[in-house]
Amino acid sequence: MAQTETLEGISLTVSDVSGQKVYRVPKAPPEATVGELVQGLLSQMSLPAHDPNGQPLAYQARLEREGRHLNAAERVGDALETGDKLMLQPNIDAG
């Protein structure tokens, strides 16, 4: 478990792919999974959750500190530390 985890949550910075929509998350819940966090962030960051056919869009969270994509099943409190930066990256089709 990350040592900087607190009862109140983990402070993060999250951006979209362009890096031009940047959001501060003061208290990311440590008990949530990364997948739950990403789903919660999509709505708050006004990022589309579905493709034009109504199918869910898959996003991965890239953790800048480690240069890797987080697994959706990882626990926020285990994978993230206060001050971490995440980028939400969609798997998306142009036609």
């Binding site: 792919v17 929509k21 819940p29 949530a32 006004s46 142009a94 036609g95």
Partner: protein, 342 residues
């Protein structure tokens, strides 16, 4: 952050005025809020990188009153200054089109039949921003670097390509970038390919105006391309970010480009040469999927989407798209001359 305390709906009518039905609609209002912020930033009313809050108000129909609306107003508050932009009911056109398809399915409307719609609004939480069931607080921190420059310095060494609308943010693209995209398109041999457009946003405070200069394209790696589809994967975005960092030239993402292998589409459909020349897919075609990439990856109002049209009857041609009034439209640009290397 956008606050919307209204739910919108549409009433549908046949061309003769008889009622077809009604339905609630979920309309993506964030592009309208972003358009409001950016258009006022272009005019110097609000700072380009200011953190602000936007809210939605219906514009009630003057003769019928509530709940009938002729559009909606976005109010944007930044640095103690409030600015507004109005959006007409046509903003609901796409939602109306999708909903009207249901009437076609039910046999109440024939495919291709004209219909009329009236937008309505009701008080109630229209945001739908629930945090995915998670009590998640987020604070927006806008990060948009802008370089102070003179627009005239760019205009003097450029020429218009396509119809340049004076209402659009000026966009400058060097021939080199178009040539690289065309070469990659030819090399993909009938499969879609693409890349990320990077460059700088400039502000001419004297005018005032904000404009975009594309400086390079980064070929999209780790994509999956077919003749009809190009998948940008999370690895694509990571590789592009790494390339921008490696270039270390203070560049930002300005949009993306991808190819339409029209010659391959025509071959598989056995289109005649004459039909190919008038095909609506051969030029200025931006699919729903193409627009979805813009919305998910390039939602800022200055973002550009470039299509390389690879046809059998002519060399590669280019179609540029951009945000205007919260929606994506074809647009022109300026072809930027670059100094020749010795």
């Amino acid at each position: 952050m956008l606050v919307n305390d209204y739910r919108f709906g549409l009433l549908f009518f046949r061309k003769d005025g008889s009622a077809l039905g009604s339905a609630p609609v979920t309309v993506d209002l964030d592009p309208a809020a972003e358009s409001t912020r950016f258009e006022h930033a272009r005019r110097g009313d609000v700072p380009p990188s200011g953190e602000g809050a936007a809210s939605i108000e219906p514009i009630w129909d003057a003769s019928q009153g509530a709940p009938y609306v002729t559009g909606f107003r976005v109010a944007y508050l930044s640095g103690g200054r409030k600015v507004t932009s109005d959006f007409p009911s046509s903003y609901f056109g796409e939602a109306a089109s999708q909903t009207s398809a249901e009437f076609v399915k039910r046999g109440k409307l024939a495919a291709g039949d004209e219909y009329l719609f009236q937008a309505v609004a009701f008080a109630g939480n229209g945001n739908g921003k629930t945090g995915g069931g998670m009590d998640l607080e987020v604070v927006e921190e806008t990060a948009l670097p802008v370089v102070e420059s003179r627009l005239g310095d760019f205009e003097r060494r450029s020429s218009p390509a396509g119809l340049v609308d004076a209402d659009d943010m000026p966009a400058f693209i060097p021939q080199r970038v178009l040539d690289e995209a065309a070469a990659l398109t030819r090399g993909a041999e009938g499969r879609e390919t693409g890349g990320i457009l990077i460059g700088r946003l400039h502000r001419d405070a004297a005018l005032p105006e904000i404009f975009a200069e594309v400086t390079a394209q980064i070929p999209a790696e780790h994509t999956r391309g077919t003749s009809a589809r190009l998948t940008f994967t999370p690895e694509t975005w990571s590789a592009a970010s790494a390339a921008v960092r490696l270039r270390n030239q203070s560049e930002i993402y300005l949009g993306y480009w991808h190819s339409h292998p029209v010659r391959e589409w025509c071959r598989s459909r056995e289109c005649t040469p004459e039909k190919q020349k008038t095909c609506r897919l051969a030029k200025d075609f931006f699919s729903e999927d193409d627009a979805a990439v813009m919305r998910a990856a390039f939602p800022r109002a200055h973002s550009l989407g470039l299509v390389v049209n690879d046809t059998a009857f002519a060399g590669p041609s280019f179609s540029l798209f951009g945000w205007r009034g919260g929606r994506i439209h074809p647009r022109g640009f300026f072809l930027l001359e670059e100094p020749h290397a010795e």
